[in-house]
């Protein structure tokens, strides 16, 4: 079965939204710890981060919400996604320890490429621009699965699925043995279906954040539409 990963920004409402996403069929929640200067993010995630920060969502508060979310959906892996500056300030090891204590499953540090701080255990990202050598390095050191950035660009919904994805998946299949989840630019059930034909899972961020604005019911319905698309794809390809 193809995995469905939904991105939510840490906020007081996140536990409830995470439960709605899981009810809709999400297998994993990516859990954004907001940063003031998110270089890899497009306008939707950036604005969600600005809002979370304006509501006081600093590292400790994010960890608290992570714990509350874990209590509500204990069987769903929660993967914090953030930027190096937060870890630098909090302490790299302490951050990893406290994430684990709060119920987090690994983490993603968007601005920390595979060859920086190899001792920090995390899910690595590769992009269409990555060389074979870097894909192999990321695949060998990643924590459980590999995040394929489908586009050369920042996060955010796009009209079409990136034409760079098939080539990236083909190379990653040849070079690494872990599951491949694709993200960036995926927003509709049609996208989900076409990406799932290639990768082992999909990550949906910006569009999920927009739908989450409308509340848990809207999010559950949206996630269920993605779930259905993935399961249909799985039925087709066997």
């Amino acid at each position: 079965m193809k995995k469905l990963v939904i991105y939510l920004m840490a906020d007081p409402e996140t536990p409830e939204l995470a439960r709605a996403a899981v009810d809709g069929g999400a297998d994993m929640i990516e859990f954004g710890f907001p940063f003031s200067d998110p270089l890899a993010d497009g306008p939707v995630v950036r604005r969600a981060g600005e809002r979370a920060l304006s509501r006081g969502m600093r590292t400790r508060q994010c960890l608290d919400v992570l714990r509350q979310t874990h209590e509500l959906v204990p069987d769903t892996p929660l993967v914090p996604m953030t930027y190096s500056s937060l870890l630098e300030a909090y302490g790299w090891e302490r951050f990893a320890d406290d994430v684990q204590t709060a119920g987090g499953a690994s983490m993603i540090i968007v601005d920390l490429p595979s060859d920086e701080r190899p001792e920090t255990r995390r899910v690595h990202l590769v992009a269409p621009t990555s060389t074979d050598e870097r894909i192999a390095l990321a695949g060998a050191s990643t924590d459980g699965w590999l995040y394929l950035v489908t586009v050369t660009g920042t996060t955010g919904a796009r009209g079409e699925v990136s034409s760079a994805l098939p080539g990236l998946v083909e190379r990653a299949r040849r070079l690494v043995s872990v599951p491949l989840y694709a993200g960036f630019g995926i927003s509709t059930p049609e996208h989900a279906r076409s990406v799932a034909a290639l990768a082992d899972g999909i990550v949906v961020g910006s569009r999920a954040l927009e739908v989450a604005e409308e509340g848990p019911d809207a999010l559950r319905t949206y996630v269920a539409s993605l779930r259905l698309a993935l399961d249909t794809e799985a039925a087709v390809t066997g």
């Binding site: 003031s36 270089l39 600005e50 600093r58 590292t59 300030a89 920086e116 621009t129 990555s130 950035v149």
Partner: protein
């Protein structure tokens, strides 16, 4: 542990994976260029025949009676500031890398103008990101960039200043990395940018050292320069790093003292000293000078501070404004507000023989400075 770099534990490449191959390519292209005489010859010819190097060294005696303050006149460089040294070097490098599109960030607009200038000269597409607040207070430079054929893209979120303009330029680069060179304007950003910019600006320090020796028969007691991102200062300091007796002083805006009151953090691809809260969130800088209004600083400055080789002090908006006015009245030179910070501290130093980097001219600042001076009176 933190990866060790040329600047101790500062620097590094804290950027999304998408950019790493481009940084590798840039690094290789830069090493190849440094080892290639034709690169140096082409750059030297441009600096001489197009930019107007060497710039003069002017002795000022009326600005600070009792002192001999030498001004390194980067204000007389084509486009009016030291930024052109870096823009010319990087545009030659971009040509070698086969990039046809250039993106840049700008605060005061001087780097934007320098970038628009070199793009016009070399026939390259040019996009400059600039915060809306800076567009307001540096209008003449916005008009110059337009005339030079560059597209100025306003950045209307966050601080609406250099920090956000830099983030947007990097996002553009992430999206268009295969065709685009990011022509960064200061000694900040992921490796190898801080090293590239420092090397391209070190012509300031090399010339100034020679000129000072020729004028005085000895080295200055103190070399002093304004520090925002820190490129004119690092260019000046590089001429004197091995002269242990020469004190190196960087002057930050008091409200943007990344080195004086910052903490170790990660901003725009590098680990350095930044203005941040205890959670690592970058905090706002405040300065009347758009070029210093930045919460980060080049990693090499953080390294020089920790090593004790350079010291960093602050100057307030008010002190800079007074120095701005006083240099105009005593020497007939209108400095930019950025080097006015260095001038403010220079005249109070417990030294007689002082070399100041006059990094740019003040035409762009007239409206802002005159209204600021009115409030002082």
């Amino acid at each position: 542990m933190t990866t060790t770099t040329a600047f101790g534990t500062y620097g590094g490449r804290y950027v999304p994976e998408t950019l790493i191959p481009a940084l590798d390519e840039l690094d290789q292209g830069w090493r190849d260029a440094l080892a290639d005489d034709t690169f140096h010859a082409e750059l030297h010819a441009l600096l001489t025949n197009y930019a107007g190097r060497p710039t003069p060294l002017t002795l000022s005696t009326r600005f600070a009676p009792g002192k001999r303050i030498y001004l390194k006149r980067e204000d007389l460089l084509h486009t009016g500031a030291h930024k052109l040294n870096n823009a010319l070097g990087q545009i030659v490098l971009a040509q070698r890398l086969g990039k046809r599109r250039i993106v840049a960030e700008t605060g005061a607009g001087q780097h934007g103008v320098a970038t628009a200038t070199v793009c016009a000269k070399f026939g390259l597409e040019c996009v400059v990101y600039m915060g809306e607040e800076d567009i307001r207070r540096q209008k003449p430079n916005v008009e110059r960039m337009g005339l030079l054929g560059a597209e100025v893209r306003p950045v209307d979120f966050g601080t609406k200043t250099l920090k956000e303009a830099t983030s947007e330029a990097i996002r553009d680069w992430i999206t268009n990395v295969e065709t685009t060179h990011y022509l960064i304007g200061s000694c900040v950003g992921p490796a190898p940018y801080p090293e590239i910019v420092a090397e391209l600006q070190s012509v300031i320090g090399r010339e100034a050292r020679e000129q000072h020796l020729a004028a005085e028969g000895r080295l200055p007691e103190v070399v002093i320069a304004a520090v925002g991102g820190g490129s004119n200062a690092i260019g000046m300091f590089h001429g004197f790093l091995d002269d242990a007796a020469v004190r190196l002083v960087g002057v930050e805006a008091a409200g943007a003292a990344s080195l004086g009151s910052g903490r170790t953090g990660v901003l725009h691809g590098a680990r350095s000293s930044v203005l941040a809260d205890e959670d690592g969130q970058i905090t706002d800088a405040h300065s009347i000078s758009a070029g210093l209004d930045y919460p980060g600083v080049g990693p090499e400055h953080a390294f020089l501070r920790d090593e004790g080789r350079a010291t960093y002090v602050g100057a307030t908006d008010e002190e800079a404004l007074r120095a701005f006015r006083d240099l105009a009245r005593t020497e007939g030179i209108i400095p930019a507000l950025e080097p006015a910070h260095a001038l403010a501290r220079a005249r109070e130093l417990d030294a007689e023989l002082i070399l100041v980097c006059l990094s740019g001219r003040g035409d762009k600042d007239l409206a802002e400075a005159l209204s600021g001076l009115e409030k002082l009176a």
